[in-house]
Amino acid sequence: MASLQEDSISIDTLDERLKIQSRIEELPDTDDEGVPFPGKGQIPLNRPASISPSWLQPAVFGLFHIDDGTTTMEAQQKTTAECLSYLTLKDSQDLPLNLYGLPHLRRKAHADFLRVTLGTLPAPYAAMDASRPWLFYWTMAGLTSLGEDVSGYRERLMETVRPLQNPTGGFGGGHGQLSHCACTYATVLALTCVGGLEVVDRTAMWRWLGEVKQADGGFKMALGAEEDIRGAYCAMTILALLNLPLELPQDCAARKTGLNSFTDKLGEWVSSCQTYEGGIAGAPTNEAHGAYAFCALACLSILDAPHKTIPRFLNIEALIHWLASMQTTPEGGFAGRTNKLVDACYSHWVGGCWSLLQAATKSPNDLWSREGLIRYLLTCCQQPGKRGGMRDKPSTRPDGYHTCYSLAGLSAAQNHYHYHTEESPTTFLSSAFQWSASRPSKEEMAQWSIEEEDRVRLVHPVFVVPMEAVERARLQFEKGGL
């Protein structure tokens, strides 16, 4: 509880938080009548995982791997070959196995791996000198999704990011670096995780965001930098979490072109990023890409309720079609583009789209294979041995980025996220705060071959930090203003 007091949240907001917390942790135990004997959940209810699921039958994935001599297919075959013995559990890599025969989630090893990236890093990490805020975010998000307490990092993180903040607003990658949407986004989210947002100069932030807002509705990543959909998602995340005014600052350039609000023309701009394939590109006419699909959907889910904005600005059936096609056979994880390889980071970038889309379509049923993704992540993406951490695919080394987004993807696959339609429209960006989450039923866990130990916590589907951290930020800035 010491950490809660440090958060400088008043007592009544604490009560609020506890209420929210209980809503989040409520069990939708739909499977009570499922198995009429005690100890359910301890006994493999389904077929054991060691028997290959349908998409791992050679006859099926053979269709996807006809050798046609292309560079693309060569790379695909190499990837399948390196994954197959892990997927079919012929090789367990000496990982401890759960009741269903899948490797356990190596919670402690992954947490240790993440904590190491917060220590002193050797000189070659100078390559990360412009993206250090990402290290903070990946670690805080990863640790919290494993259920680790990060409140102990609060003071140190606030101290560390202080020199990264520019007096003209926003955060750069390091001291003396220009403010950048991605660095600012990562810093704000990391601070959200530890409850340290008071270090942010909100007024300066609002002015700086006004400078990166563009006449066409989108956002540049930094002054003088490129305009892409990451900018739109990052800016909207920052505006919503800090509850900044939506009116543009008086003197910003976008205002001179007739825009009044940060949200003006934004939906239209996001819309212009949808490609002929149905997916979303980083900028108009570029190639459809999984990471940008999440940016688009999350951005629209902040703009207003997903069932309003997503069908209004995107061809939703085409988008679902494309996203579904990103799940790879036989690996079961997601690729980021058509004819590209599976990569664990898309477990979040594509995997995280489904709860937003389900809210948009109000579809009661899943549109994707949670089971396939879970199997890929647990069998292929956990680094064996002492080191821990998660990786893109077996032939790569683990890093903070892949560990964070593998865990976020696991959370998307293992949990349920529900959007609660707002009663009355409000003026601020309230829609992203209308989510609740629930755990899987025991029946589902058995179906997906996971035990309690393999579960990651509920992660906010739009902001990708713990649900309760988002609630804390909402309460902190409830008053709005500057």
């Binding site: 996807f64 046609d68 100078a126 412009a130 250090r132 670096q177 579904a324 049923n365």
Partner: protein
């Protein structure tokens, strides 16, 4: 060995060392002395808003050490423009740098700024054609190393837009890229852009695939690709894109799809994408039963990883089927 502190050209600058924020910073990088010193000079010149030739040397030095440093790139561009520097020399330097740091992407935004300025009012190169030709060639050289580099393709699109390269030469380029790898979806996306971009971006000529002749040509192009690689999603997506944009009847594609998958020969399916298209054809024909059978084939046999998605499609069918009945 201090590089800048002992250099008389830098004697007037008081370097600004890194502020780590406190005694225990998180994820602190143990910078090399070299990097640390160079950065402290950059901080100092940026704080003084100095734009001078020596800033170009300093930024070059830093980019060599850390090409992912967006601040250095942006400040370098600002300095180049403030000094009215020779941008052709910059371009030559960029060629070497791009080849040395292929994964870096800041470089492509920088290149974009430089080339744009070169052709702008100020420098107004005489030989624009020579410039874009050299740029296109350089880009193609980059594709020999990584044919799917997102930022290089984005730069290529910018070149097409900036110099109006909507003609057959650029189409041939996409054909060259696809001849190397028919599954290179970035090349397919570029083809779509070359065919339709002018109409979409500028609206000043060309209808893209809405021109019947162009449509016929592009449909044929995609079909020929499918014939070579039936289980290749790229040309199928391309066909679907044409259908969606033009509103053409899917009936035109039925016979084609049936060459690769048909309900009559459920054991002989050569492409799951053909089945997917066939299901849509049946929906258009209001044959919900057949569409359902095709989707079942996908869910249970040919594409089970997407079982839930195919079932979802079947669910939509129920509604439409009922409406049709």
């Amino acid at each position: 060995m201090p590089k800048y502190a002992d250099d008389p050209t830098w004697a007037d600058i008081v370097p600004l060392p890194t502020d780590e924020g406190g005694p225990n910073p998180l994820a602190a990088i143990a910078y090399s002395d070299d990097y640390s010193e160079t950065m402290s000079y950059l901080r100092a010149v940026m704080a003084a808003k100095e734009h001078s030739p020596r800033v170009l040397d300093l930024t070059e030095d830093l980019i060599d050490m850390n090409p992912a440093h967006y601040t250095v790139w942006l400040y370098r561009a600002e300095t180049l423009f403030a000094l009215h520097s020779d941008l052709r020399a910059e371009l030559e330097w960029l060629n070497e740098t791009a080849l040395a740091h292929q994964k870096n992407y800041q470089i492509w935004h920088h290149r974009n700024l430089i080339v744009d300025r070169l052709c702008g009012e100020e420098q107004g190169v005489v030989d624009e054609e020579g410039l874009w030709k050299a740029e296109c060639e350089f880009v193609e050289q980059m594709f020999e190393r990584d044919a799917k580099n997102y930022h290089v393709w984005s730069y290529r699109q910018w070149l097409v837009r900036r110099f109006g390269l909507w003609g057959p030469v650029e189409l041939e380029f996409t054909e060259r890229m696809l001849a190397r790898d028919l599954r290179n979806n970035s090349a397919w996306n570029h083809r779509w852009f070359v065919v339709n971009g002018r109409a979409e971006m500028e609206g000043d000529g060309g209808l893209g695939v809405e021109d019947p002749e162009v449509r016929a040509r592009e449909v044929k192009f995609a079909m020929e690709a499918v014939a070579k690689t039936p289980q290749n999603q790229s040309p199928w997506n391309y066909l679907r894109g044409i259908v969606r944009k033009t509103g053409m009847s899917l009936g035109h594609l039925k016979g084609f799809a049936e060459q690769y998958a048909s309900l009559k020969e459920p054991d002989e399916v050569r492409s799951s994408f053909a089945l997917d298209l066939l299901a849509e054809v049946y929906v258009e024909e209001k044959k919900a039963k057949e569409a359902g059978e095709v989707l079942d084939l996908l869910a249970t046999r040919y594409d089970p990883i997407r079982k839930h998605y195919w079932q979802y499609r079947k669910g939509l069918l129920g509604v439409e089927g009922a409406a049709a009945a």
